[in-house]
């Protein structure tokens, strides 16, 4: 492989990692705090893609600005979801939330089929096929934008979780909910905030992905599975772990296609997941925390 092609592949994998990370932050946050696997994550990705489509095609909102409307909207949706669906089953076995959110996902899907039909949709704008050349390597403007947003979200989330009261409260709740309650943290309100934030991050992912992929009411299903892999790979309670997991996975997938076969791409993802779980049960971030200690 020529050096230029190698560099192009690495850059492409890094940009894909940005997308994977955005796809997974919301799932990681909700699981980290509430120990809930949010299967409705895929449905939120799908609905936010449709909302972005509606904003761009009906109101001619700039697709790069649409997330600024989509995210707050879905934050409120997330608060409502937590209040209506999750709070009543607090304390129930984990299977209850799993099945409940799976049902919510199916409802979202079927409502989407009824309203939008099964037609494949896309957002095509003046930016869609634009590229920027860096050292003669063409980089997609849309993918660069998604990657940049991924970095901003990573930094913002880290700052939020480490430097703000709600953020530290979320971390405390994730670490030990009883202790958090004992020190005066309103666990109900913080759970609601975390869930809302997780849903808004899933919506951000859907809004950005609608710039890159076509979508229909089944959109999000294959991304959900990949997000699971990334969250477990990176470390379920670490945002930086998610970013790291995304990078490792994207690079592994890219080079598996080149050096092995393209049909083994998903196999490599899941094989890597199993390997990391066997060798590093706390995920990749556990490796760095272990070395720090």
């Amino acid at each position: 492989m020529a050096a230029k092609d190698f560099v192009s592949l690495v850059i492409s994998a890094i940009l894909t990692a940005g997308l994977y990370a955005i796809m997974s932050y919301g799932l990681a946050l909700i699981y980290g705090v509430m120990k809930i696997i949010n299967l409705a994550h895929a449905g939120v990705i799908m609905l936010s893609a449709y909302m972005t489509f509606w904003l761009v095609t009906t109101y001619h909102v700039n697709p790069f600005l649409a997330p600024l409307i989509v995210m707050p909207t879905f934050f409120l949706v997330g608060l409502a979801m937590q209040r209506i669906f999750i709070r009543p089953i607090t304390g129930a076995p984990p299977i209850a939330s799993l099945l409940l959110l799976f049902g919510v996902w199916l409802i979202m899907q079927n409502v989407a089929y009824l309203i939008f039909s099964g037609d494949t949709r896309s957002i095509f704008t003046e930016y869609t096929l634009l590229t920027i050349k860096v050292a003669d390597i063409p980089l997609s403007l849309n993918r660069l934008f998604v990657f940049a947003v991924g970095i901003v979200v990573l930094v913002a989330l880290q700052l939020f979780l480490s430097r703000t009261y709600p953020g530290r409260a979320i971390r405390a709740l994730a670490a030990d909910s009883e202790a958090a309650s004992l020190v005066g943290i309103n666990t109900g309100r913080i759970s609601m905030l975390a869930f809302g934030l997780g849903i808004s991050l899933a919506a951000l992912a859907g809004s950005l992905m609608s710039l890159i992929y076509t979508f229909d009411p089944d959109f999000g299903r294959s991304h959900l599975l990949k997000s699971f892999c990334i969250v477990v790979l990176g470390g379920v309670e670490s945002i930086i772990g998610v970013a790291l997991g995304s990078l490792v996975l994207a690079l592994a997938e890219a080079f598996s296609v080149v050096w092995l076969r393209a049909t083994l791409q998903d196999f490599v993802s899941f094989a890597l997941l199993v390997l990391v779980l066997l060798v590093l049960p706390n995920g990749l971030i556990g490796l760095f925390r272990g070395r720090t200690h």
Partner: protein, 410 residues
């Protein structure tokens, strides 16, 4: 009184005797034909086209009083029972079971999409109910030794085979070089595997014309096509052929365009002119060649007549789903007429020996192969800028000359 009774008896016998044969199998009030279509779910768009097509065929046949069934000496109106299989193979099987066992339909019309057709045709074979479909092309459907399944879609390797024929035509016209190096990729499903096999078979049959330099499958819902396209680029191919669903087609072709790749011919098999893809790709879809089972611009009389009546009925241009759905219904109706009976075994035999012309399939002739699947060529189209699509092959259906090779300024 006795004379009256005797006269009435004679009268009854003289009237009833032509019906004596029919009285053994009383004429039904309606010919009931069943189908399960994806009216909701992932395939609902295509299922909707089939339903409209079936209803158009039904309306036509009933407008003339129904189907003439010689066995009963009269025309019998037709009714359809169409269930929604929700685009799910398991539900599809259940619906066909219901049609056979509870609704006791006379005959079946087909559903849509290879996985569903593959699943529910087992029911048709189990109950020995003749089944005619325009929605399942996978060769595996017809490779199971079933005797009651008839399909109007030629298999997928015929799709790639037709593209190879078209490229041969272009080579002979001096527009493409010999031999052509081909990179072929396909989704990791039976559809993609069959497509790639068709290309390999075509190349093996004409080594002086074609050489396959890359043959690779890829997983569905591809997220990052760069590594695959790197392989395509590294292969040094002249031609890029792919088999992909609309979502993967748009993902791959967008990246292909962004990376500035170039080939003399680009094709994604049956994908190309559909609106969803043109909307998603814009100029990136220009000059892409596609092979399909039918196109509304086909100039033959049956196609033109169908396009006109469909547009009158539904105020939209028909896609191939509607054309092949309509044709399936007409072929089944004709088989009943030709068999002269509703006896399933006889209708089945008639279908197996059917040769109908002119019909709106490519080539104009409907004749099923020994496995029940038609083996007609596809029609090849090419996207042009500004949203236009032209037919470029076969020559007797072509509406314009192909732009070959793809312009480098694209």
């Amino acid at each position: 009184m006795r004379n009256l009774a005797f006269s009435l008896a004679v009268l009854w016998v003289s009237v009833a005797s032509p019906m004596a044969y029919a009285a053994d199998a009383p004429a039904p009030n309606q010919i009931v034909i069943g189908a399960a279509l994806p009216l909701t779910g992932a395939q609902s768009r295509e299922g909707g086209f089939f339903k409209k097509a079936y209803e158009l065929a039904l309306k036509e046949v009933n407008a003339s009083g129904g189907i003439m069934v010689k066995e009963f000496g009269k025309k019998i109106p037709v009714t359809f029972i169409i269930y929604d299989d929700k685009s799910d193979p398991t539900t599809s099987v259940q619906m066909y079971e219901k049609l056979a066992s509870a609704d006791k339909v006379h005959l079946f019309l087909g559903g849509y999409a290879t996985p569903l057709v593959q699943a529910h045709t087992v029911v048709a074979e189990k109950y020995q109910i003749p089944y005619v479909n325009g929605g399942g092309a996978g060769g595996d459907i017809y490779a199971r030794g079933m005797k009651h399944i008839f399909g109007l879609l030629a298999n997928i390797s015929k799709c790639s085979g037709t593209l190879m024929k078209w490229m041969t035509f272009q080579q002979d016209a001096g527009k493409l070089l010999k031999p052509l190096k081909i990179a072929v990729v396909g989704e990791n499903t039976s559809h993609g595997v069959e497509f790639r096999k068709g290309v390999e078979d075509g190349a093996n049959a004409a080594p002086a014309r074609f050489r396959v330099v890359l043959n690779e499958g890829f997983e569905l819902n591809i997220k990052d096509a760069d590594a695959l396209l790197q392989k395509v680029k590294a292969s040094g191919a002249d031609v890029f052929l792919a088999d992909a669903r609309v979502s993967d087609y748009t993902t791959i072709q967008r990246r292909y365009t962004e990376l500035g790749l170039y080939h003399l011919v680009i094709s994604y098999g049956p994908r190309g002119p559909e609106k969803a893809a043109r909307d998603a790709l814009g100029r990136a879809s220009d000059y892409i060649v596609a092979a399909n089972w039918w196109n509304k611009d086909m100039k033959d009389k049956p196609s033109q007549a169908f396009t006109k009546k469909y547009k009158q009925a539904y105020n939209e241009d028909p896609e191939w789903f509607a054309a092949l759905g309509y044709e399936s219904a007409r072929v089944l109706f004709t088989a009943i007429t030709d068999a002269g009976t509703l006896n399933r075994a006889k209708v089945r035999d008639t279908l197996a020996n059917t040769k109908l012309s002119p019909e709106l399939v490519v080539g104009g002739v409907v004749q099923f192969g020994p496995n029940g699947q038609i083996q007609n060529d596809y029609v090849v189209t090419q996207n042009l800028p500004d949203g236009k699509t032209i037919i470029v092959y076969p020559p007797n259906l072509a509406t314009a000359k192909a732009v070959v090779p793809v312009p480098k300024t694209k």
